[in-house]
Symmetry: C2
């Protein structure tokens, strides 16, 4: 499937233009973070094989790592059964989290 | 931390009352699905150690497996750095997906 067909397969109406994207470490399987992409961010991500999100707070495209150098390199891309969530297995350069942690999910409920 | 404190730690304003919840297979590490919980669903999930989502289409609480028997048993619960996404490592009984697949993310972009 080419990139445009994949982008069009997302149910953009259901997700109100912003699809949630889960990133997972390609080798270790650790879940790293959840971000959001609009159509343009997804197209750019699949083209460049490097993740670009849509920042909901700043309302701009945001290539993860553009300031820190901690890019997320795309290895495998999956769409779920409802076409409303994406999972991307990545190679994470450096720390994923702005706190310096190796996953954003470090607060455990015990 | 007790359950109420954990529930209160979620940034419910930012998520508009519905927090996205990623489920991951506790042993194999496979990402299974993404669902949403309101405050009540999260409280119920943490209390019963079995996942209850909030169905956005039906607008009701929905205990995964209540009709199929494919319950999601809670093993570990994590909140992300921004307090706006939850990751739950689970024991999945039977197939997770209504299509019978062992993950909802079975459509791969190649």
């Amino acid at each position: 499937m080419n990139i445009s067909d994949f982008v069009n397969q997302v149910d953009w109406v259901k997700v109100n233009g912003l699809v949630p994207v889960i990133t997972q470490d390609y080798w270790r399987g650790r879940v790293l973070m959840l971000g959001y992409m609009n159509r343009e961010a997804l197209q750019k991500t699949l083209t460049e094989r490097k993740i670009t999100y849509y920042s909901r707070t700043r309302q701009v495209l945001w290539t993860k790592g553009e300031t820190s150098g901690n890019f997320q390199i795309v290895k495998k891309v999956f769409l779920d059964c409802d076409n409303d969530t994406i999972l991307i297995k990545i190679k994470q350069k450096g720390a994923v989290c702005h706190t310096g942690q190796s996953t954003c999910f470090y607060q455990e409920h015990k």
